[in-house]
Amino acid sequence: MSKSLANLTVQQLLPLAFVRGEAVHKRPDDLYIPPDALEVMLDAFEGPLDFLLYLIRKHKFDIVDLPVNDITLQYMEYIELMQGLNFELAAEYLVMAAMLAEIKSRLLLPRHSQAEDDEDDPRAELIRRLQEYEVYKQAATELDSLPRDERDYFGARARLADNFNPLVILPDVQLTELVLALQSIMRRAKDFQHHHIKREHLSTRERMSRILALLQQHHGYLAFADCFELTEGREGVVVSFLAILELTKEKLVEIIQVEVCGQIHVKVARDNR
């Protein structure tokens, strides 16, 4: 399991945190919450909106009518209680208290003119926020209850068979890369004093390889005539002949004739140095 998962998960809830969930609603309807429970309770809230929602639900206030007076009084009461406990109040809770006080003060102001009818109820924004928060709080609960990997089911995997070999994709090479590589060698080779450039038919080099491979197939010994493929015509015969000469010159093969006018053989060169 990844480290990040550990960050995401929470410890089992402490028994005191019964204020979350249904336990909260079963409590007597009086306002009093024991101070030691309050601290645990605050931990259980996801912020002042959550806390406010709790107060509203607890007292069965209609959120649409939002009795700001009652709620403000109660909210302030808790805040004082928390301060009395040296509870470090999050700024958000104090902002909420200030907002409630502000709404209350605006509601207390007498209304003068018809024009003010169009003005938003100061409670409207708070109600909107509370309702929106409650929607997503509920959505989070539903998300949590969805059947989920690693809790409600587990991935079913099978190993690969013992004879499994990974597919290795070998690098692609373009013909132009070969030419460029050779060009770069040639440029460098010019700098070598003891090399000189010579021209040669490439087909001769290829035929040299072919004759050597043919000799290898025949244990290094082949009749001279068998080195030629007559179907290739005159040009092919010439290329083969040049290749044999070049192989001889490079001391890679020997040409043997045991008796005059006898059979000529081509043989892979041995210790001729």
Binding site: N7, L49, D117, R128, L143, D144, P147, E150, Y153, F154
Partner: protein, 194 residues
């Protein structure tokens, strides 16, 4: 080059591929990998997958379709007993994580500031970090406001994990539609409430 494959071989190959793959496999992925040297129509793969689903319908594991493809997973009824295989593993998430995730899932794309505005509380960096690390959310862009905050959205991995084929499979938010409708009369009612 293109070869034929009979129905039994096709079923075995698709079955083995889904079991061997770490991630769910889509039909397109099957075509591009294990089936690439065979000529198999998508319709024939569909039939094969339905056959597999039927073969496993009464077994301890099932073939499920998720957002990114098909995967085998254990029967939900067995989860309590199977959890004994990993006594140290916990699959609980904090409310802060779940609320943040729910907001991103339903309101995406949105910024951390927008999440905080709804929740009425700061969203810790470690919450965003761990959701990002888990691969459940990602930054899909930046909002053109000062600071250019990242816009978060959920990933296919999130859908896979919660067994959803798409975001539309998320439970609907019934109260939300009521809410916007209710708000107007509420605002209009203010006169009587004074």
């Amino acid at each position: 080059m293109i070869q034929k494959i009979n129905d039994i071989q096709l079923l075995q190959l698709i079955e083995a591929a889904i079991f061997a793959s770490e991630q769910p496999l889509s039909i397109a992925e099957l075509q591009a990998t294990v089936l690439q040297r065979f000529s198999v129509s998508n319709g024939r793969i569909d039939v094969t997958i339905r056959q597999l689903q039927q073969d496993y319908s009464a077994r301890g594991i099932q073939l499920q379709q998720t957002a990114s493809g098909y995967r085998f997973q254990t029967r939900p009824e067995l989860s309590d007993d199977l959890a004994q295989l990993w006594p140290e593993r916990t699959a609980r998430y904090s409310r802060a994580v779940l609320e943040t995730l729910a907001l991103i899932a339903y309101k995406q794309p949105l910024t951390r500031g927008e999440i905080e505005a709804v929740r009425g509380v700061a969203v810790g960096s470690q919450i965003m970090r761990s959701l990002l690390d888990r691969g459940w959310i990602k930054v899909v862009g930046h909002k053109e406001v000062p600071g250019r905050p990242g816009l978060y959205a959920t990933t296919a991995l999130f859908l896979d994990y919660f067994g959803l084929k798409s975001l539309s499979d998320l439970p609907s938010l019934p109260e939300f539609t009521e809410l916007t409708a209710d708000l107007l009369p509420t605002v209009e009612m203010t006169g009587e409430l004074h």
